[in-house]
Symmetry: D2
Subunit: 354 residues, 4 copies
């Protein structure tokens, strides 16, 4: 259910409605919009009896939400969600969010080499795995907290926001502490316990679509995070599993306009996992921007052939530069732009002539 407040409703009126909802044993989720505030109501226990809230001061309307997802729905919040960060970057706004970096943090040297290159290209988000969910227990599983510390230093040095994956409660606490965006991986998209914990974290959550998740399941996973009170959720398409064998996964770009139609949440595309093949990453990055994605998440490595994981799908640094160049040209067609190269560096080093 959704309570729509009138345009002039006071904060106090909103608080009063929320209080009433909580007294009835439900959760209230005030959602401020451009025109008015709405209040989502969620709860395990059925529905509030009709008429209970309609007459409270400031209430215009109480509406039933017929879709199984509520807080993620456009019905509940019409304006697109823009997740904003301290350094001025955002996800979901006019500027495309470019998230780039290695699959895994392997060493300080490797991570800094890549980060420096990316920062000079105008990238604002650095990705790197400290906890790697690997198919084999005998594969490299990431540097753990050591990797997080390296990334925290990268943030300080290059003014990059850190996006990294949490795989369980322990790592989630650490990621919440060290990083700027908590990534939930495809394999954990329906790890509801982890989703709820992410919903209680302070940082925005980047939620990757599961390998065989329907759109509804994907949105319901986001609903789990939001239902715990964390409204800064960013979705991410990363390819689904099909019979096709020319790429590791089949990138489903149609999900981007489908998400935008049903939900106010932003959605990125990960063409690196989406294809699993280096030569396909740039074409599919162009396509992702053209289809209307809110940004890209791309694996880049200074020495892909020596990468400890996912080397086959990681771009060489020069390939990434080419990708950014092409994406920059396409962005305006979809009313977007890419941050200019050198801007971050400029901010860090005002004397820079770049």
């Amino acid at each position: 259910m959704l309570v729509v407040m009138n345009a002039h409703a006071t904060d106090e009126q909103v608080r009063a409605v929320c209080k009433r909802i909580e007294e009835l044993g439900f959760r209230a989720h005030p959602i401020p919009g451009a025109q008015r505030t709405a209040i989502g109501i969620t709860g395990n226990e059925g529905e509030i009896e009709p008429g209970t809230l309609d007459e409270l001061p400031g209430v215009v309307e109480v509406i039933r939400v017929s879709k199984p997802y509520k807080l993620v729905s456009r019905d509940v919040k019409e304006d697109p969600t823009i997740v904003r960060f301290k350094n001025g970057a955002s996800i979901g706004g006019e500027e495309l969010a470019i998230v780039a970096g290695p699959c895994a943090i392997e060493s300080r040297k490797q991570a800094f080499a890549i980060a420096e290159h990316l920062a000079h290209q105008g990238v604002r988000f650095f990705r790197g795995g400290a906890y790697k969910p690997r198919t084999s227990p005998y594969s490299f599983q990431g540097l753990g907290e050591e990797g997080l510390k390296i990334m925290a230093d990268i943030r300080d040095q290059f003014c990059l926001l850190i996006v990294t994956e949490a795989v369980d409660n322990e790592s989630l606490d650490l990621v919440d502490h060290y990083a700027d965006v908590i990534q939930i991986g495809a394999r954990n998209m329906q790890n509801f316990s982890l989703l709820k914990k992410a919903g209680r974290a302070k940082k925005p959550v980047l939620l990757k679509r599961g390998m065989s998740a329907t759109l509804e399941e994907f949105l319901m996973a986001a609903e789990y995070v939001m239902s715990e009170g964390n409204y800064n959720v960013i979705l991410c398409e990363r390819g689904v599993r099909t019979f096709a064998d020319h790429t590791r996964n089949t990138l489903d770009l149609s999900v981007v306009p489908a998400v935008h139609r049903l939900s106010h949440l932003p959605i990125l595309v990960d063409p690196s996992h989406g294809t699993g093949v280096r030569s396909k990453v740039t074409p599919l990055s162009r396509a992702s921007v053209a289809v209307g994605a809110d940004g890209l998440i791309v694996e880049v490595h200074n020495e892909p052939d020596r990468a400890l994981s996912d080397g086959k799908q990681s771009l060489y640094l020069e390939q990434f530069d080419e990708l950014i160049g092409q994406v920059r040209q396409i962005a305006p067609v979809v009313q977007r732009r890419v941050a200019p190269a050198g801007t971050v560096a400029a901010r860090l080093d005002p004397a820079s002539t770049r």
Copy 2:
């Protein structure tokens, strides 16, 4: 196997090698390239003994082709195939091929109304079904030859090239007679009997990917057509079948760069069948061009809500104009262009002020 002739080999030398191949009970497929001619060898009966052809005049090298497809392979023909048409249009070249029109030809009036609109937008290829493969025997199955005649008149009136589907031997003969491109639909991608017949037709063949065809199967289907001597094959991605239910099919755009890597054949994308939902056609058209497709095939209708088939996925005329406008902006990023609006009309009516 593939015989590579030297750059200065004479036509006579090429003919002599072909003759020798045929005498050995195989088929020779001379493939002229920018630098040199190659001769593909195909046949049911094993391989030609090593050494048999190496010493013939003009032969540089005889190489085994390890992939199951031969004539479609980039190994055999490095330059991309450009299918050229009388009116100056082409598929596979710098100009994107825009194929548009209704799902089915329903009446002369409907078809002409749509065609006129498209011609003024610079479209050069008109699509429309005269033979419709329908899931139900009780659904509208197309106007048959009457539909072909209407399209032939459209060609004369609007200088549009006609692309239409053949579903069996009889309709293939008629399509070969009336139309400019013979479409083989997804359901017939492995109707090998029909593919062979298309391989003996005079007109280029547009081959749609089967609903669950792997890339190799798709290329092998093209090989069937080429092995019969028709080298003007145009591939078309139209979505594959997956568990995802937010679109009718899942459009697999990664197949475009994958085809371009393995084959010299051009590939179009059909976002109408690829999504089955009108509101997704324009975003996926942008993505298709951005990923590097050689063109688009799009369903457009003057009255989608009254269409006898596929109305849900057909664009309104104005939506198509918007699509073309957006695609026109993206094309240069991938070194392509879209024919300017009004050009066809201009050719037809030099006094036109449009």
Copy 3:
């Protein structure tokens, strides 16, 4: 629409109703049942106006069929269809139909060796391909009519019914002439032109499920055959295409009870194509019978390692004997039986001591 006649309706009354239907521009399909006759009405042109047929003599009721398939539906014919053959064999009755033989007829010697073995095991149906739909144009495509003649001789010699695939109009005419059951392969399940022609043939049709056909599409393909007047349709599950890679296809046994619920048509299972791996054929054959299939179609070869096609999935003769032995034990649990070993041979050679 469906006209239900009363239990005592005369043949003349049935004919009169059919005549009226045809006069209205529709097709009438009289369907005799155990209790009463029903008359299915099909046609391209919409529906017959309510009230038109209700008052004709012998008519009990005129009902709309809400499902897109009509003639294949249990709504239209409650009793299961049993396809009966001259030599006493049947498909859909209490006796399981065991169809066995090589993938392709390679030579008279090979085919006879296999057939003799099978006949002694009580098998009543012999399968073998004369026209092979192969992924590559350069693979062995079958012996054609020569193969059909070999199979016709096998029928005479071993009292086996011949099941073989038709791939186009020409081969369908020949198969209809030489064989006992016309197989339509998975790749042609939506070759509607071929389905219609099979619907006008005299022999029963074995229709294999397409690689990615939904149940509804599968039943609609059968509807195409029936709508042309051939009511002897036998369905066949042969595996669908999925991401799973431990078998060539994923055998979907749940489709067997699903078909039996919605349709009166019998359904066989083909565990050879369904798995593509010899060691999986016997376990899945047991499972197919246990799930309730009306029979099996299995590839058997006297020398699988030398087979010209599908050797990897063909059983050795001894493996087939073991399979039959196991299936024979499971059959009674599902109220079925397998013809006893030696019966066919016994009929052919009354002096036999087997």
Copy 4:
């Protein structure tokens, strides 16, 4: 790598080899077999140098295991694993393991009613969810520890072994405490953190196949559990996600013989989730036993129409009795048997005349 000890190797020799392996920084997994002991070696850090272990007393051979899974592999342990329980029941042996019960524990009354019925049918394993991973955060999520306590009482009262799902670290500790088998659900099959924790638990682990897990991924998930030292892993096929829409999932029975070929671990089948439709559960149960599964896990409810979850796929009590009766008949064909009805009750109440 795998160290094969000779048939007469002493325990001391085995211990000495293990000690050496640990000193080298690896983990040693002694695996006693019928004939000899083998020692699996696992570790994150590459391989032990050739020659290092070959000459230790009692060592016959040191072999490389080429497959990515080691401890789950038949190469490492030829004899099938039989998981044995205190009350004499086992999984993987001649007696089929029948695991039955409601989707979720809803109340003591409901759970006891169902358990009593099942115990009288000879069932030895009771399943019921206390922690339910639900697509929606607003759906019933299970009774939690209260549900576990109810099941513990059921064990005491009916001599049934308790199988129930753990969804995170906290619930895993509780399930390990209260239940007899720790179930890891399909959505958590690649929750590697949870798998490792299950690998350190005391109770056997029932690992369900992920919705789109390949066979290799499935076995690697089991390897995660085993690599932590818990060798009592039971696999479970529960349907995979495909395009097919006549069942909720597509039950992939071919995975049963495929698992048995590659691994020594037992595998059950869950036809309830595998089909999602009550009327398909019994036919697919028959098929599962016929294909060679080590047992079944089936949802049964005393009032399916009032079930708080999965009611549509839960059997009525009488339907379960019929299922057991049919399965009992098929079992001997695959050298299995089902525990006789009444045996458990008899043990509990020796005076019973049942």
